[in-house]
Assembly symmetry: C2
């Protein structure tokens, strides 16, 4: 059955974050925001209609888990195959992580059913 939401959202953005890095909540949030902004910009440029519809609906964002870098790379490949706007964030390494560590992958905004083809099996944070 899973969770039931009170509203239907036709568009969404899903941000996948690595759970193997042990990021603090603040670090996680900042990386998710980087990814969210980057993928939103990509959508604005290539799928303005998706971007506008998403914003109009309230800009739904969901944060889910990936086990590590290999899974993040697989998901990125799948998103690219489907030509979905996406953004892979690599940390600049100034604080908690080594420079160049991949941290999150943001997919969408795009039609929810397309995003689900990439991230539909992943668990919520």
């Amino acid at each position: 059955m899973g969770c039931r939401e009170g509203r239907e959202f036709r568009y969404k953005q899903v941000i996948v974050a690595r759970e193997d890095l042990g990021m603090s909540p603040g670090k996680l949030a900042a990386q998710v925001a980087h990814g969210s902004l980057g993928a939103a910009e990509a959508a604005r440029k290539k799928h303005k209609e998706w971007f506008d519809a998403w914003i109009k609906e309230g800009g739904k964002k969901v944060v889910v888990r990936a086990s590590g870098e290999p899974e993040l790379m697989e998901l990125q490949a799948k998103a690219k195959e489907l030509k979905l706007p996406c953004e892979l964030v690599k940390d600049s390494g100034l604080t908690e992580l080594l420079p160049g560590t991949s941290t999150v992958l943001a997919v969408g905004p795009a039609p929810s059913e397309l995003v689900d083809k990439v991230t539909g099996e992943l668990l919520l944070w």
Copy 2:
């Protein structure tokens, strides 16, 4: 002494999140991303030069703590007084929180010293 950063950033965005709500890391991250995107849009419209310079520098984002709603409101008033782009996020209440609960305040992108006048005393998440 505090933390020392390896690079200087002339522009930044600071996202203040309420620590009294007991948000899960994923909820926190999604709310921070909402605020980040909203305030970035506000900057793009009113201070395009700040927005562009911030993106060029890598889009620095920092997540800090507020004790509760009264502090968030005070910070918002201060940001408005300084005419800084900002965004207060109210949750739609579909999952963890009551509808209309204020969760985060994003301030900037703006010159770092101006943002610090609002958020400079707050602790990192």
